[in-house]
């Protein structure tokens, strides 16, 4: 695809790419608390503020719970708001994640995905965001620093769309992406500013029966989120679910529109399929691991093996129809999970993909590999082993072990 705007190539790590995208997105308020491996994001951003490169109000808070509270408060006044966190920081935000989505505040938050303690570990896995998958936030997992940059810009458009009005998490794998230098193509400040535009507001009826914009404004007073008793709480939750459904279309539209100016798109914005159309064996995964899997798919294809990959880019809302449709001709599927659901029947991504396929016409063999916990490296050889296991399942027509641990010392 040809890009229509001039772009520069910068050497940025994933965190810097995120900070750069936020800088260009005309953000009004950033409230944050540092935590590895996200720290570079807010560090860079605070430099932009100190240098006068942005007019953003930067709020240093005393904890992540306060950081998100400040972001929520700013967002409901109509400010474009951004923050970043990881691991224990995100866990400390847990309560406010629900308040933010419940108040329909379109906050964008980058998460440099990291393991949770104990034992203490600062390295990459998806335990932090998977724990928050039911908190009402849209979740986009990126494959590289370029996609981290592009996705943060897109996230504002998705979050602030008046059919959506939901907060968005952009997840990038800790260290693998957050701290690794890549060539990143960046748009001009103007092009990004035009793309993100300004926030638009729906109208609501306030307590005086007046129609007012949906934001906290002393001239048009309204209040949001104070209380809903058993006679109304359920209805508000149903609205959030509808917003998630609307987001499926909005994410695809934004992906297309962004492709038109940048020349870059990520599948349809929801899933990124690689050689799946005619694949017999396929891996489903999220995030940076897809890069390794694609390289192995190339090798296997050269050897005549019909291997494919389905990267789920948008995990919330889960693109169920796209997953089922993309995998419809695959005979054996391995789902890779970079977090554990202790005592569950496999990892969370496995639960969801296997559940989605229950209503499919044809059921592939499906197995689960837990991998990469606490930053454990996942090599091309290990990925190759997964494809070999899948081929063996097709030969023997038997699944020996449903859930396995990849790269674990037995």
């Amino acid at each position: 695809m040809k890009s229509v705007v001039k772009q520069e190539v910068l050497a940025l790590n994933g965190d810097e790419a995120v900070a750069f995208a936020a800088k260009q997105s005309d953000v009004d308020v950033v409230a944050a608390y540092p935590i590895t491996p996200q720290t570079i994001i807010v560090e860079r951003f605070s430099e932009y503020v100190a240098n006068g490169e942005v007019e953003t109000e930067f709020v240093c808070t005393e904890s992540e719970h306060s950081a998100l509270t400040a972001c929520l408060a700013a967002s409901v006044t109509g400010a474009r708001t951004f923050t970043a966190s990881a691991s224990a920081g995100l866990a400390l935000m847990h309560e406010m994640l629900f308040v933010t989505s419940g108040c329909r505040a379109p906050v964008v938050m980058a998460i440099a995905n990291r393991a949770l303690s104990a034992p203490l570990n600062i390295h990459g896995d998806h335990s932090d965001t998977m724990t928050e998958r039911d908190s009402g936030w849209i979740q986009i997992y990126v494959e590289n620093a370029q996609e981290a940059y592009d996705s943060v810009i897109q996230a504002f458009r998705i979050a602030e769309n008046t059919d959506v009005l939901l907060p968005v998490i952009v997840g990038l794998d800790g260290f693998t992406l957050s701290h690794t230098l890549e060539n990143v193509h960046v748009l001009s400040d103007d092009a990004v500013k035009r793309f993100v535009g300004t926030r638009k507001f729906i109208n609501v009826t306030n307590h005086e029966g007046k129609t007012v914009p949906f934001k906290l404004d002393p001239n048009n007073p309204t209040s949001m989120g104070p209380i809903a008793l058993p006679n109304y709480y359920f209805e508000f939750k149903r609205q959030q679910e509808e917003a998630m459904k609307n987001a499926l279309k909005v994410i695809q539209d934004v992906n297309k529109e962004y492709a038109a100016i940048s020349g870059r798109s990520y599948g349809d914005g929801l899933v990124d399929a690689y050689h799946v159309e005619d694949a017999e064996v396929a891996i489903v995964c999220l995030g940076s691991t897809a890069g390794t899997v694609k390289a192995v798919v190339d090798e296997l294809r050269a050897e005549g093996v019909k291997a494919g990959l389905l990267r789920i880019r948008t995990f919330r809302p889960l693109p169920v129809e796209r997953i089922v449709d993309t995998l419809k001709n695959v005979k054996a599927v391995a789902v890779m999970d970079r977090s554990m659901s202790f005592g569950g029947n496999g990892g969370p991504v496995f639960h969801e993909v296997r559940h989605a396929l229950y209503d499919a016409e044809k059921h592939p063999y499906i197995v689960n590999y837990i991998y990469g916990l606490g930053g454990r490296d996942t090599s091309p050889m290990q990925v190759r082993k997964i494809y070999e296991d899948l081929q063996k399942i097709l030969r023997t027509k038997r699944v020996e072990t449903r859930v396995q641990h990849l790269g674990l010392r037995e």
């Binding site: 609501v204 306030n206 209040s223």
Partner: protein, 94 residues
């Protein structure tokens, strides 16, 4: 709380729990089981109860030179009766 059919559907209400009624229209006084009743003889008009009431349900009426209970908002917590130095308030079962 009883859910009735005349209440609005999820498609009709503003998002995020935006209030469509002012707090003065939500009569929260129907929670109470005990009601504060004042003995006018014992009451010294010290106004401590006005300060202590967590719901602002006791009003000082300068034109009357007296206080007044607003039972539409009094939740019957009994704090006023407990704090009254003259023991002028009795909590009576409704």
């Amino acid at each position: 709380m009883r859910v009735t059919a005349k209440e609005k559907s999820w498609k009709e209400i503003s998002p995020a729990g935006v209030c469509w009624k002012a707090s003065t229209q939500f009569l929260t006084g129907d929670w109470k089981t005990y009601k504060p009743v004042r003995d006018l003889e014992k009451c010294t008009r010290c106004l401590l109860c006005v300060l202590f009431c967590p719901d602002g349900a006791i009003h000082w009426k300068p034109e009357k030179g007296d206080i007044e209970f607003d039972y539409n908002f009094c939740k019957g917590c009994g704090i006023c009766a407990n704090e009254c130095p003259a023991k002028a308030i009795e909590m009576k079962l409704e």
